[in-house]
Every structure is written in C-alpha cells, then in structure tokens.
Subunit: 352 residues, 2 copies
Amino acid sequence: MDLIEEAVTAAIDSSRITALEIDAIIVSNMLGEVTSSQAHLGSLVSALLPHRPPAIRVESACGSGAYALHTACAFLESGRAKTVLVVGAEKMTDVSVDAIAAGLMVAADSEEDRPSGLTFPGIFGLIAARYMHEHGLTREELSLVSAVHHRNAKGNLFAQFRNVITPEAVSKSPLVADPLRLLDCSPISDGGAACILSTNHESEFRLAASSIASDAVSITKRPSITSFPASRDACGRALKEADITLDDLSCLETHDCFSIAALINLEDLGFANPGEGISLYKDLYEGKKTRFAINASGGLKGCGHPVAATGIKQLNDLAKQLTEREERWGMAHNFGGACASCGIHILERMHD
Amino acid sequence: MDLIEEAVTAAIDSSRITALEIDAIIVSNMLGEVTSSQAHLGSLVSALLPHRPPAIRVESACGSGAYALHTACAFLESGRAKTVLVVGAEKMTDVSVDAIAAGLMVAADSEEDRPSGLTFPGIFGLIAARYMHEHGLTREELSLVSAVHHRNAKGNLFAQFRNVITPEAVSKSPLVADPLRLLDCSPISDGGAACILSTNHESEFRLAASSIASDAVSITKRPSITSFPASRDACGRALKEADITLDDLSCLETHDCFSIAALINLEDLGFANPGEGISLYKDLYEGKKTRFAINASGGLKGCGHPVAATGIKQLNDLAKQLTEREERWGMAHNFGGACASCGIHILERMHD
C-alpha cells in the first residue's frame, strides 16, 4: 500500500487534475495474494481517496499493467468514467527466493508446466536454447542485450540498477537456467507506477491505441517457442487503431523479462526479421544511431520488474522520452508469462 | 478449468450466439493463486475458444462476479466488444479448512484485520453480536434466515444443499463464531457460472443497470458495522440507471454469506427499516406472500458460495425467476469482504 500511495500521489501531483476528479480506479496487481496475503486491492486503493471512487483490480500476470490500462480505456470510452487512475504495484522482496520463484509460477499453467519443475528462468532458458539453435545466436551476442539495458538505465533515477556492465560480465555471471545467466534475468523488485487517463482535460499526450491479445499459457501447447504470436496480433491491431506504421515510432519500451525476450520481441513487433533482432542491439552497443530508441529507460533488466507495475511504468517512460527527444510516437509492449497475454499501447505526443 | 469449461459450454449452448461471436472475455476469480497456484486465468480461458478472444481477469474478493459483469458492461458500451463472455469459478475444496479460512482472509485488510486473528466468520460474528445488541434481534429469529434459504434451495438442481432445515436446527448447530453457528454460514463450495452479454442480439433480457461501490476494507475503519454504505451507494445509482424504484422489483438475489448479512442487506437496499429486516424473513418463513421474492434460488447458504462465481450465478437465477414468475425487474446484490466492494445489477425481462 505504501508503494501504491507513493505512485498515486506522484501521478496526481504531476497532473492537472485534482484527486476528486478521479471517477474510477483500475488497480494492477499480480502477486498480492502470494507475497502479502492481500487481494481486494480495488477497495483498498479506493479508500486512499476521500470520495472512494469505484475501483477494480485487474490481473494478467506480468502483463497486468497493460491490461489495467486497456480496461481503463474501455471505461473512458464507455462514458462511465471521465478520469481514471491506473496504478500498479508489486512487493516482491518480503518473501524468500523460493517463495517468489514458486509464486511467479502462478503465471504459468499449473497443470501443464508446474509438474515438470519449470520456473520462468527455466522456461526462458528453453526458449533461449532453442533460439540459439535456430538462429545461430552466440552467448557473446546475447550478452549485449543486458549491457545495453544497464547503460540505458544509468541516468534513470527510478532504475533499480544504474551500474554499467560489460557483455563479458553478463557471459561470466552465474548460470541460472542454461544458457541464461544471472545478468540475463530481470530482477525481483518492489515498485509501483501510476498514471491518469482523462477525457476531461487537454494533455500533451494522447493514448492513441490500446490492444490486448492472448496465447496458450503453457509453452508445451505452442507450435514454436521462439516467436510470440500474441505480440504480432496485439501490435497489428494497435498500429491500425493509431493509424500509423512501425516507421512512425521513435521510442519503444519492450518487455525484456529475460535478455532473449528482447530479441524475440523486436522480431515479433516487426522491427527485425526472425533471428536478426541482435543486429539492433549490436548497433545500440556500438553507439550507432538507430532509427528508434529501444528500452531507453533501461527496460525491465535495468529498471527492475515489479511485475504488475511494469506495463504502467513503460507508458510513463515513453512520455518522458518523447518529451526529451521531441518526438511524436512511442510504443509500450508488455506481456504476461511467456507472452500468453500481451498488451500494446501507443502514446502520441501532441505538440510538436 | 473444468468448472469454467462446463459453465462456458452451458452458457453458449443455451444462447443464440456461436462461440466465434465472442469478442471479449471477462474472467472472475478470487482464490486461484491460493487454492490452485493459478493466476493468468484470462489467457487460460481464452484458449478454450478457437479464436482466442482478448480476456481479462477481474478480482474483487467475493464480489468479483459483479465486478466482472460491470467490466463487461464497460467493454460493450465502449464499442470495443459486441459480445462478451463473463465467467466466474472457484475451486475451494482442494485445500484444508485451515488453508481456505486463511485464504479467504485475502479479502480482508492484511495489515489491520489479519494480525488480530479474525476470520470472516469472526468478522460477521462481531457484526451479528452488535446487530443483536442494537436491534434486539434474537437467536431464534436469526435462525429463520437459513431455514428460508434452505427451503428455497429445495427445488434448485444447482444448489449445494437441498435439504430443508428447521430454525431449531440452525440454533442448535455447532457454534462457529459467537453468535453465528454452522448453519448461519454459507459453505465452502466448488462452482462456476457464466453468462453472455451482447449488443448484437435481441434477447428476452436486458441488463438495465450495473453499478459498483466500495468502502473501507477493514471493519475497524467503519463508523458502524451493522450497515454497509457501499450497498446503499451502489443500489441508489443502479435504480437511477435503470430508471425504476424499489417497488418495481419482483425478485432479489442478495449476498447472504452469513445469515446476518441478509438482514443488513434488506435494510441497506431500502426494503426494510434498520432493525426490521427480520420481519420479511418471518413473513417468508410463515409462507405469507411477500411483495418480492428474496433469494428464491436458495441464496449463498442454500446454493453454496464459490466466491467469484456467485455474482454471475445470481444474474442467471434472476433470469429464471423472472421467466417463471412472468415478472419484469430483478436485482442482484453481490459483495466482497464485509461489503468493502459491492456490485448491483438490475435485470429486465423484456416481453411481458
């Protein structure tokens, strides 16, 4: 609740609205029951405001943030609300490492995946091994991803890790789930993020598209594990809704829960051909100018991954980046599990 | 997932729609993480349909069902969906009694209520004791509530308990949380319920109103524990939305998680003055004709209370009752915790 309150206060204070204008709240949370024995967060968050607006908790694993934003859009478009507070938070460090690893597995299929002993590092380890087999990606190349994300996080005061790391340090970090190493994995994090969506106020930013899509939860039920169709589906519909093409985008925040995911995401979103996502990270690592920014915030690896807050935090990061760079279009790409649920948001900065 | 699949199949089979018309799914679930180590139910349910429509999981404790219906309304009104499947399920009997009692406490305030050792029978025991003190309700009178609910459930093939019980049996059943006894308490249940809301089809039924409201989660933060303001708030807004008065209602399904709740609810909804809710149950017990039916399904006590399914099941029960009685208006009243979240739906049968 402290994490939520801090994020909510910051969102209200940095906006043009007053708390009393908020007429609906969507709360994003994944692990409250597991780590804090706490559900019913809608009502708990509502009580933070004097007029207790209607409040709903939405969950879609690590994609909860995007799903909460999407739900908020529906409430605004329905006319049932004019000003919606969207807040996500996760308190992950109060329980043991074993408990959090087991807890995160609620995002997997408890009948198909859990009995095999898989954890999410294990699932993405299998994905990374298969990707390397299919596309010839080397361990040294993969290490560029986290190196770039840490460097990007360096100037981000909200990032959990602001230390620069070398690709060699990634390659030599302890093995977690072969071939993934410690520094390939986003960390266990405490964090909160909030934003306010309103149809009542002029703003520098417009949420131009919101889309969600899903896939089989268990990777055992997928024809391929090196591509996530839900990303393709949600991205296609989001671009159509915003009436733009990929070429219009200047900033991308994508869901790098593990280094390998960043590469797959760039390919599924259409920024790179299959197997070629690493070329963008090579350019970034070498300091070449790329056509668009990728996880300029530091991504999940650099910023931390308080799971249900991530999708909302991505949107806030895009707003900062578009302002700093004086660009128009940004995309936030957030998913749950191994992209069994995917949410895409396109943010437009209005005044060029 | 079996409970969900059975409910979904029944909902589709009994409707005029085909599965492929469903363009959004709202899943209601409270305890998946606690009892089945399973979150991410939106994507799991989506995969039951060949075209995997977008699917969101909503939670508001035992009021999750009503909150899912409310969310579905927003998606329909936004135009983002034309046909929404709403499904709720709960599998509560796979874990120990201790585990489920502790698990249900995720609906309470884990910082304020849990440290005192309270459980929900304990919370409603305090509420019942206070209500008896304030209004002079006797133990014998309170026992009429469950007796009526069991008698109502007798003919309901979906009810968990179809045995008639006497008020004396209630009064003599084992003490659970003074003054509440075993037969004052809705049971631990497995169950699922689903319905389909569509703006694309003519139907015999129209969802005329949907409203939600919240209150402090901890009863320690309430000025009174014998009245639930969230019920008053949600009910007032629902009646306004449907443009009817209480007098228009012929059927009420209300949230009798404990016998005392049924009395408080009748008073908060405006059907009885404070302290006089029991008079309606006296009439019902004596077989007198009441102006409107109360929990004709058997309520939570008779039907069982698979927590997140209950709010959806209430709506299905209202549809049956309005058809059987050839009446027009019914109200479903569902809440979470000690009414820290409340959802009200008004159903209209269109062809008199």
